[in-house]
Amino acid sequence: MQTKTIQNTQKAVQKTERISGSEAVVRCLLAEGVDILYGYPGGAIMPIYDELYKYQDKIHHVLTRHEQGATHSAQGYARISGKVGVAMATSGPGATNLITGIADAQIDSTPMVCITGQVASHLLGSDAFQETDIVGISTPVTKWNHQITKASEIPEVLAKAFYIAKSGRPGPVLIDITKDAQFEEFDFSYKKCTGVRSYKPVPETDPNSLKAAAELINNAKKPLVVWGQGIILSEAEEAFKAFIEKAGIPSAWTILGVSAIPTEHPLNVGMLGMHGNYAPNVLTNECDVLIAIGMRFDDRVTGNLDKYAKQAKVIHFEIDPAEVDKNVKTDVAILGDAKASLESILPLINKNSHPDWHQKFKDLYAIEYEKVIKHDLHPTKEGLTMGEVLHQINLESKGEAAIVSDVGQHQMIACRYAKFNQTKSNITSGGLGTMGFGLPAAIGAKMAAPERQVVSISGDGGYQMTIQELGTIFQQKTAVKIVVLNNDFLGMVRQWQQLFFDKRYASTEMTNPDFVAIAKGYYINARRVTKREELAEAVKEMMQSKEAYFLEVCVEKEGNVFPMVPSGASVSDIRLS
């Protein structure tokens, strides 16, 4: 039954019809299954907006308040759904406003297609009104980009765009369409792209590398798995769980990898990197075999490379051959799709449990708990901590919420302490660290998964970078829960100033507006919490609200995030205070 309908629609879209370029764009989006897109109109993209008006029952255009917001919303949508997010903007300033989100999507491997309008082709290169060379500007931050100057190119190029954005290691694609191409009529037909000559999205897996890796794993006394977003992108969650459970290996995550397996999974030993957990960081420099899966040894994860896991044999499961040996020299590289590779290696792996090795993780966790976690989650001192807010959210969400965080101390706290039972639930800007990401990304996430609780957590700094998206939330009636952890500082920078710049707080103190009044100005329910006694009740009220809800929590001004690997230090030199 299912196949029949698909075949029918295939046939339906393949017969040709004379339509305009702009209508073709909308038809292509529909053929790719796009039912929502984020954008902002303007002169050079008006023909496409005009078509969207005609198709508004099939495709929902969300007018964000800034093009950057459109890209982050498309990213949030893509990250939680695994589908391609779509953002649209006009030429010139509209297009350049997309760049931050595109760069963010590129470094975090998020599938996204951006469509920009461009001045008419006879004006290209003439410094025409609102002309920018967006293809040139976006080249270093896109997986692929292309300018269309003829309507007839639209179907093929858009099909290619979606294919490239989604396949292999995903990423953002930008398609720039001149205004005349949008008006021009041509004979339209659409065929999905299934391959591009010169582009091999998934490299072949060498069976010998699987054997070599299995042998190392089977002989390891102290193996450690470090996993990243690759597990989520290749939907390898089950295969991954089966693998670590059979081999009994303690497993630690990068912030884009978390939520691939439940937080409470007994083999989950915590977060890696600069503000990661004590045990996995220290024991990285003690393990005998380090198995990296779908992660790229980012410098925030490795600290000083010269002192990173030098004692270990390194196995790297990776879809992008350019990542192998880029930062850390590997002994065995397993190229290919993580899911397929993990499924193939499973039968070669011996059942194991490594109890003594696991005990080391538990011992170090106990130290971290006493020195850090206890005080973060259950503080007794005056002043609310960011950790206790997360703790309350966990109690209310029971690990079912998607947490969308911005960038700064609250992000590290959110990643460290949020509990997840479901995959694709931690949405944050990892590689670029884009302040202002959180609020608009939460909009996209909630729209992709309306049945889920989506909680956005921002600092007072980043929140004000895209605060205008409250307007989008209000207009769209998007029931996101917005938490601002207000410390009246650009907290993360202030922490560095305190630790490394003699407490010279240069331009990090913020005089903030009345955030509650602002939310209310957008007709969003809002509440401010300043005392511990009010917190539990307020979080409960927020989580139970059926509509959007804004909660400002005034937290201690000079709280710090620990543990911390100071930049340039080794992961095993991690500080607890």
Partner: protein, 176 residues
């Protein structure tokens, strides 16, 4: 610690698309690597372009960069070679004052001995062309500069590898 740098010739087979030069040169630019010379042309395969770049860097850097080039959607395959692994040519032309040709006997000998060729002669100037290896071209330039060179220009390197590059076979394996 800076690793020892060497000269490498990079060959890239690509789709013939606008904008690719930007993408590839940006890979070098980001890492502060100067491209010594660059040449783009058609190749033995229809609709496939071939690029030849000359760069100085460490082999470790070279390997990583090849990975980044290879990763571009429109790149079919990128290779790097040391000087011993390729046959290469560069070409150059000199413009010189015509009276030198008649007054300085030496010039005629230099042209003959260096296997250069006179492309054109007119009343004011004449043009010499020479193809060869880098050192041969440099030597000719040194010899002629004594007499005064009005204009000099040199092409990018073009090269073929001693080993086979299985591009046609590779193209068959890409799904269409």
């Amino acid at each position: 610690m800076e690793k020892e740098t060497k000269q490498f010739t990079v060959s890239v087979y690509t789709e013939n698309n606008i904008g690719l030069l930007n993408r590839i040169s940006a890979i070098f630019q980001r890492r502060h690597i100067n491209i010594e010379s660059i040449n783009s042309s058609v190749s033995e395969i229809e609709s496939v372009s071939r690029w030849t770049l000359v760069v100085n860097l460490s082999e470790e850097q070279m390997k990583k960069i090849i990975g980044q080039i290879d990763k571009q959607v429109e790149v079919i395959k990128a290779y790097y070679h040391t000087e011993e692994e390729i046959i290469y040519q560069e070409s150059c032309i000199f413009k010189m004052r015509s009276d030198l040709l008649f007054d300085e006997r030496q010039i005629q000998n230099i042209i003959k001995d260096s296997n250069a060729r006179i492309v054109t002669v007119n009343r004011d100037f004449f043009v010499i062309e020479k193809s060869g290896r880098k050192e041969e071209i440099e030597m000719l330039q040194r010899e002629l500069s004594v007499f005064g060179i009005m204009q000099f220009t040199r092409s990018g390197r073009i090269s073929v590898s001693k080993d086979e590059m299985k591009i046609s076979k590779m193209l068959e394996t890409f799904n269409h």
